[in-house]
Amino acid sequence: MALSDEQIERYSRHILLKEIGAKGQKKLLEAKVLVIGAGGLGCPVGLYLAAAGVGTIGVADADTVDLSNLQRQIAHTTADIGKPKVQSLKESMEAINPDVTVHAYQKFIDSSNIRELIREYDFIVDGTDNFAAKFLINDACVMEKKPFSHAGILRFQGQLMTYIPGQGPCYRCVFKDMPPKDAIPTCRQAGVIGAMAGVIGSLQAMETVKFITGTGTLLVGQLLTYDGINQSFRKIKLPPCDGKCAICGEHPTITELRDYEQPACELRL
């Protein structure tokens, strides 16, 4: 595939980078990435990946845009209230870059459909807001041998890590299982600073672009945490999988996906 003059100009700031170049840009254009969640994290991820020229991007979310989303979900506008989030995000992405194909999946991702969906993609981005979805995405990606970026945000804190099959621990190696219900913050406690979604979502987009282009070091076996109050990042080295993980260990006890019950208050992490 040859880059057109227009593409050369659009992606010139990538091509200029020694680590990306025309080769890397072509890889981006040929890549297929699935973003699960079109909210706080999914919006910046979707926008940056579209801008970067990731050729095929899937976005999955069942929700519609709500006024309370707009404080942080920057791909949606006031005029989009009531619209499916995936449609609103797709429109924003295509407005930035008509060069990319966006597939919008307006549905709940659950144990019945996730494996089939992720099979179509090279890299998965977890932009969801609850533990049930995070364990589901992890387990499905381990089963389908798909690399993915995990992230979570809450209040002034955010975290992310990357899973590459066979190269490091999975989300379940680190976090084991759903937290007990009384450990999950209640709705009233679960505020989040809008820019946190931008910081962590942008870092997920960075991981994605680096994975596709084979650039630099990924957050494999490392959890990057960000504290917005103190403006501090920490990189925590994670122990490698000890072989006993219920999903990615030597003798997995989870052989089928399950849907965890979500706490009733629908907190947004």
Partner: protein, 83 residues
């Protein structure tokens, strides 16, 4: 003394472009060549003549020669180093 003629494997004209696209276009064409092949780049005097050869050197390529042309432009010969 007339310089020895260099045989280029590929040529590109970037006289219609401005910085940084002069270098971007050069990089894209160079990317399609094999190691050791030679690219001739036609560029304008001034900023392109200053920056394009320097940027190519920074990326490890071998700049062979910069020849002035009759029309005020220059032809830069660069040998691709590395993949």
């Amino acid at each position: 003394m007339a310089a020895e003629e260099i045989r280029a494997d590929e040529t590109v004209d970037v006289t219609h472009l401005v910085c940084p696209n002069t270098f971007v276009k050069t990089k894209v064409v160079l990317d399609g060549l094999d190691e050791g092949q030679i690219l001739a780049v036609r560029l304008n005097d001034g900023e392109p003549v200053q920056n394009v050869p320097r940027s190519l050197k920074e990326e490890g390529h071998e700049v062979l020669r910069l020849d002035p042309n009759d029309d005020g432009t220059f032809t830069l010969y660069v040998k691709k180093v590395g993949d």
